[in-house]
């Protein structure tokens, strides 16, 4: 009997330890909130009449704006997407994303990401002008969606966001006047995807892909279609 109680107690203790550690670790990195695309009306697309969803994002040269709070969280000097990194869009819809790009930039280490890919008719609109590619030496960030090929529908979208010139006028909020990039893509069935930046913007680390480039909530996040 005593052995039984002891064993049961040990098993319980182990379960509690795993649960505690798991909860702590799971909560330590969960993104605070999800940004849902706003559906308004329908749009005619190559795939017929689909609901039209809108998503607005910003890319900041630091973390003072966006989801990390006004103090910038634990890494105020990291570049960051905002207002959230956990995105959600409806299935079987046309999703139009508008990104205000406040950051300067430089040369891509892979020209591949200088081309707009996966959007409706392969274009994006930069400050009102339709483009298919951006000068790979003047890219600020990219918005690149990809996924594990699985039973869910494939989705690959990559849009380069041109860099803001160093001498761009400064706005009231302290950031330079942004480039506004708009593009649309069509979602398939429900699924989970990830998105990230492919411009090496994690300064100071090897290949500039550390820091904000390797931490969810800054230059990458998740995209839930559903």
């Amino acid at each position: 009997m005593r052995a039984f109680v002891g064993v049961a107690g040990t098993l319980l203790g182990g379960a509690v330890a795993v649960a505690l550690a798991g909860t702590v670790l799971a909560h330590a990195t969960t993104a605070p909130h999800q940004l849902r695309a706003q559906v308004s009306g329908t749009a005619s697309t190559p795939q017929g009449e689909l609901p039209h969803a809108f998503l607005e994002l910003d890319t900041w040269p630091d973390s003072m704006a966006g989801e990390h709070g006004p103090s910038g969280g634990s890494h105020p000097d990291w570049v960051s997407y905002g207002p959230a990194s956990s995105l959600s869009v409806p299935a079987h819809s046309l999703v139009t994303v508008t990104i205000r790009q406040y950051d300067t930039g430089g040369e891509l280490n892979n020209d591949f990401f200088g081309t707009v890919r996966g959007t409706v008719d392969g274009t994006a609109t930069v400050d009102g002008r339709a483009v298919t590619q951006v000068d790979p030496t003047e890219v600020g960030h990219t918005f690149t969606i990809h996924a594990i090929p699985s039973s869910q529908d494939p989705l690959f979208v990559s849009v380069p966001l041109p860099a803001v010139a160093d001498d761009a006028p400064v706005l009231d909020n302290g950031y330079p006047a942004p480039h506004v990039i708009t593009f649309s893509f069509i979602t398939g069935g429900p699924g989970s995807y990830v998105w990230q930046c492919e411009y090496p913007c994690g300064d100071g680390t090897y290949a500039n892909f550390g820091g904000p480039m390797s931490a969810q909530g800054y230059m990458e996040g998740t995209l839930t279609v559903g």
């Binding site: 591949f112 892909f209 931490a215 990458e220």
Partner: protein, 265 residues
């Protein structure tokens, strides 16, 4: 292999002398277990690994699958022998109780014949493995003589693959499309850390190293969609560094590659 074990000195009286050695315990029951295990393991070795590995999409992958099957079959008797003795020792030679058993067992301190046979057999198995491996590794003459292979540049970057077709006007794509029955040579490199370019169903795997270009070649021979995965932990989104390869007819490939964006440089 089992028979050699009967040469162990049989100083303990077994059955009557008229019974041949292999019919006496423990040889006969161990042989029985051995046969049963072989009967169970052989179909497993024949079908299960190859089935799990899925349908191959290249001759190379078929070679790998038959290698796995062959090695599994070769190891069936080895595993069955070891496990037969193990199982029998649990059943046939057990002694329960809190007191140590008397020391009645034959004090075998080794048996030269058994050891030599064991060593020779394991060396022969080893040689078989080596020769088989080298034979599969040898480049197939058909691939070499099939003319100019299609060149594909594969670039790993955290955490996506990108593909370039230098022979087709520098077309670029985020997923791979290949013409069927056409030898392909991959020139694999990385922009940052080590990735590993793995086409699962074609048995192609080579690391994408920064600063180096590594080569791999294959001739896909089945139309369909197959998986490309990164096989070397490469950071945050390593799990998501996956895409597909579509093997299509030569005509479809030609029209597809025409439609792809060109490299900017």
């Amino acid at each position: 292999m089992t028979d050699t074990l009967t040469t162990a000195p049989a100083d303990a009286p077994g059955g009557p002398p008229t019974v041949p050695a292999w019919k006496r315990a423990p040889i006969a029951p161990i042989l029985g277990i051995f046969v049963v295990l072989c009967a169970l393991l052989t179909p497993f070795a024949l079908f299960v690994p190859a089935h799990l590995m899925g349908d191959a999409a290249s001759a190379h992958m078929r070679g790998i699958e038959s290698t796995v099957t062959a090695f599994s079959l070769a190891s069936v008797p080895v595993a069955a022998l070891v496990w037969a003795v193990t199982i029998y020792s649990i059943i046939g030679w057990r002694h329960r109780g809190s007191e140590p058993p008397a020391e009645e067992a034959p004090p075998l301190r080794g048996n030269t014949v058994v050891q030599v046979v064991w060593l020779v057999l394991s060396s022969v198995l080893c040689l078989f493995l080596l020769i088989w491996g080298l034979a599969v590794l040898r480049p197939t003459p058909s691939a070499a003589s099939a003319g100019q292979p299609l060149m594909v540049e594969v670039t790993g970057q955290q955490w996506t693959w990108s593909f370039g077709y230098p022979d087709n006007g520098n077309a670029t794509a985020d997923r791979l499309v290949l013409p069927v029955n056409q030898p392909v040579q991959f020139r694999v490199t990385s922009k940052d850390v080590i990735h590993s370019f793995w086409i699962v169903q074609m048995g192609v795997k080579v690391d994408a190293n920064p600063g180096e270009t590594t080569l791999a070649s294959v001739t896909p021979d089945r139309i369909g969609t197959f998986d490309i995965r990164c096989a070397e932990l490469c950071g945050l989104y390593h799990a998501y560094m996956q895409t597909t390869v579509q093997v299509v007819s030569a005509d479809q490939f030609a029209s597809w590659v025409q439609a792809q964006p060109r490299a900017t440089s």
